[in-house]
């Protein structure tokens, strides 16, 4: 259940940045999570609801964009997606040296908020 520590880190980072930017109330936090990470979107949502209790995040929603696992063959440079069968072998030339170029994302894309607590700004 490391989703809880991931969300804790997200909330801490967003809170610091909100304070720096004079934002009193956060409305939305957007994450990008690759399918090759072991962070499950449902567990992240659950952790977000469980952990966020203060006024700044009271009405905040968490949006998660999932990214597919994408590889590039180091022999023929063919790019391909890897599905749930986790076959890291180039479908074009059969080479097994492939680089993961997508699917390991685990970052905060952006957040939205209001500078006044009543949301009039």
């Amino acid at each position: 259940m490391h989703e809880l520590s991931i969300i804790q880190s997200v909330v801490d980072t967003v809170r610091d940045s909100a304070q720096e930017n004079g934002i009193k109330r956060v409305n939305k936090v957007k994450l990008v999570i690759g399918k090759m990470t072991m962070a499950l979107p449902d567990s992240l949502q659950f952790a977000f609801e469980a952990i966020v209790i203060d006024e700044m995040f009271e009405n905040a929603v968490l949006e998660i964009e999932e990214r597919e696992i994408t590889c590039e063959c180091s022999s023929c440079q063919h790019c391909f997606q890897v599905d749930d069968a986790y076959r890291f072998i180039c479908p074009n030339c059969g080479h097994d040296r492939v680089d993961i170029i997508g699917g390991r994302e685990l970052y905060i894309d952006y957040f939205e908020g209001d500078e006044d607590i009543d949301g009039t700004s």
């Binding site: 934002i23 986790y86 952006y110």
Partner: protein, 222 residues
């Protein structure tokens, strides 16, 4: 409404500390391994066997990750090597900060090889770089054949896979062919050693490999 763009890596703080650990390990010419597996797959027993085999050839230190107890650390200490316990107090993985602090305690001794025994878990530890030279995953044949495709990240990132409890293979439905086939499609270059912590089978091959890795790192840094 204000939008603040971040593009901020969620585990960025850990990545920084991992880089720091990696340069410490390099500066001290010590090979650091991150040992990961499910609970009960035999990491500690394999460590005991490996220390018995290599203990008089190189200096070994162990960082023991455990949720709450120091039972594993006590077992390792009996083998006469330096060991530092990390209790994660419920956290399901080690992170680079915990390892950095533990290594400070260990590094007063001149070591050639440091084993970092992670918390037993195939999911969360895979996401956290500790600054190790490479990762070793232990899988025991009693866990069944499906683990590679259920936990692809941890197997993809491993340099070495130890298939433990090989002495029990005739009592299970584990298919080594199927396991190797699954592993090859996730991680074609992983080195596989079949071992038994209980009987000692395969431990010499694994230990010889470790000795070569230690020497290679040391000669690359001189």
């Amino acid at each position: 409404m204000v939008q603040v763009n971040m593009q901020s890596h969620i585990l960025g703080a850990n990545e920084l500390l991992a880089r720091k650990n990696r340069s410490l390990f390099g500066g001290n010419k010590v090979l650091a391994l991150n040992l990961m597996s499910s609970p009960g797959s035999g990491k500690t027993t394999i460590l005991e066997r490996t220390i018995e085999t290599l203990g008089d050839k190189i200096k070994i230190g162990v960082i023991e990750g455990d949720l709450y107890t120091d039972q594993d650390a006590q077992r390792i200490e009996k083998k006469g090597v330096r060991v530092v316990q990390i209790n994660t107090e419920g956290t399901c993985h080690l992170d680079a900060g915990m390892v950095g602090k533990a290594y400070e305690t260990l590094s007063t001794a001149e070591l050639d090889l440091v084993f970092i025994e992670n918390v037993g878990n195939l999911v969360c530890p895979a996401e956290f770089d500790l600054g190790e030279d490479f990762r070793v995953v232990v899988i025991s044949i009693t866990e069944g054949n499906d683990k590679v495709l259920k936990y692809p990240l941890i197997f993809r990132e491993a340099k070495v896979v130890l298939v433990n409890k090989i002495d029990l293979i005739d009592y299970t439905d584990f298919s080594m062919d199927r396991f190797i086939n699954d592993l090859r499609q996730v991680n074609p270059s992983a080195q596989v050693f079949e071992v038994s912590g209980r009987t000692g089978e395969g431990i010499n091959n694994w230990s010889d490999f470790l000795l070569r890795e230690v020497r290679t790192k040391q000669s690359n840094l001189t």
